[in-house]
């Protein structure tokens, strides 16, 4: 056996997703609206499922409805639809109880930026 420990210090570049991550860092949701079909993707897609490459950044409220969820040893995760977005997104859930359906995007409490929801009463409040 040859024990070996290696620590890798990455500097990852966010590239075209920079506006999305800059907003996420402040707890804001920045999606991408397709110029052809007007569907909003969040997290943003470079190419819309309709095939269109052009799009514009649009600010969303950050409110979302949790549609499917799973809970286990590594935390709670869900497929949630953000208000204004056409499709679901993968999110981490913080502080959700079993009956809670709605959440608000929040700044992540972990090292890496990611979509994280905290519970709210409903998406209109």
């Amino acid at each position: 056996m040859i024990p070996y420990q290696m620590r890798l210090n990455y500097t990852l570049r966010s590239g075209w997703l920079a506006p999305f991550f800059d907003a996420l860092d402040k707890g804001d949701a920045l999606g991408r609206r397709c110029t052809a079909c007007e569907a909003v993707s969040y997290p943003p897609l470079r190419v819309c499922p309709c095939g269109e490459r052009d799009g514009e950044w649009v600010r969303l409220s950050g409110r979302a409805e949790v549609l499917w969820r799973t809970t286990g040893a590594d935390g709670a995760f869900a497929l949630a639809r953000f208000l204004g977005a056409a499709r679901m997104a993968t999110v981490r859930l913080n502080g959700f109880t079993e009956g809670t359906r709605f959440g608000q995007l929040t700044t992540a409490d972990q090292e890496l930026p990611h979509l994280c929801l905290v519970p709210v009463e409903d998406v209109s409040t």
């Binding site: 056996m1 070996y4 290696m6 990852l12 966010s14 997703l17 991550f21 993707s41 997290p43 897609l45 499922p49 499917w68 969820r69 799973t70 809970t71 286990g72 040893a73 590594d74 935390g75 995760f77 869900a78 497929l79 949630a80 639809r81 499709r87 679901m88 997104a89 993968t90 999110v91 981490r92 992540a108 972990q110 890496l112 930026p113 990611h114 979509l115 994280c116």
Partner: protein, 395 residues
Amino acid sequence: MTSIDDSKVIVTGAAQTRFNRRKDNSSFRDWAAEAFNAALEMAGIDRAEIDALFVASESDFFSLQLNPVALFASELGLHGVAGTRCEAGGASGQVAVQSAAQAVLSGQARHVAVIGVDPSASSLSGDMIRTLYGFSFDAMTDGFSGVTATALYALSWQIFAAEHGFGDDELACVTLQNRANACANPDAHLPRTDTADEIAESPMIASPYRRLHCSPLSDGAAALILSDAAYVPAARERASRIAGMGAATDHMHLGVRDDPGMFSAKRKAMQHACRHAGIAPGDLGLAEIYDSFAGAQLQGLAALGLTDAPGADLENGAFSPNGRCPVNLSGGLMGQGAPVGAIGVAQVAACARMLEGTYHEELQPSSPPAYALADTHGAVCTTAAVTILQNGGAA
């Protein structure tokens, strides 16, 4: 697409090591050599006759070996051959098989070697592997959240299960059958005989998936020799042959898919493979299915078109060892194990041996069918690759 010349690509050699967690200080190099030497002996050719080497290995993080194909060319005595490393997550092995078959079909190679290998169990801790697997999805938008493969599979399964009215009973049924098959497979990692209650009481990993619904992390290797029919030794002329291949991708983000419970890439890959082979899914007489989790097997069977009623067919034993299309006689990933790069290669090896009538005695179908299916995918079926093998008449 045109049909594959059904006499062109012969599986002349097929072998694998035992899949398990190695504690004997053996290396992935040793496992690859063991599988390769066995496949070469079965093929009855000299290593100098091999023109190309294809290596399936999911991640350099596991082995700490970049450019593994060059390493294996040296380790296996194949100095000078053309070398290609293939990677598509869990589908890596099948992608290597298909790339190798294409090399034969194109006329660029007479005999090719395929090696699938990964030290998925013994090099890193389970927690570290789980972290790495989280980057199998869009690492920046999904992986950074700490979401695991199990969690994403669980979400996909829930959607499929809601559509079909499935629950824990169906998960237990798949788990029990695959692990029971593994009990007759001496190469299997998890030949377990748990009860349904024990499955239901195992720790929750990501609801509804419990530990016993999951495939293990395994070490191991598998190898194939694929040959142009014009150069096959006489003793192997009636070996199994590759009749159809298909591969496809799906949206990387689960939530973007039209139906996140449906493995659409698998469906598309299967349609390509059946068109190549000139058969329908109903013509398949056995299948090795990518059962990374118990529910994934049922999602796979539905996507592949092997059933229109997965619940009823599960209940009536259609996929049991004596059913109309036995599934995962090897035990699948859940029973035999999952050294990632080796999975697809081992599936093709198992199908080839079952069609030839030389598989493990207790698991060998008494009347080998005309066609068998090897099915893999990577991530939550973001990449899919399936291969159809045809009985060459050896059995």
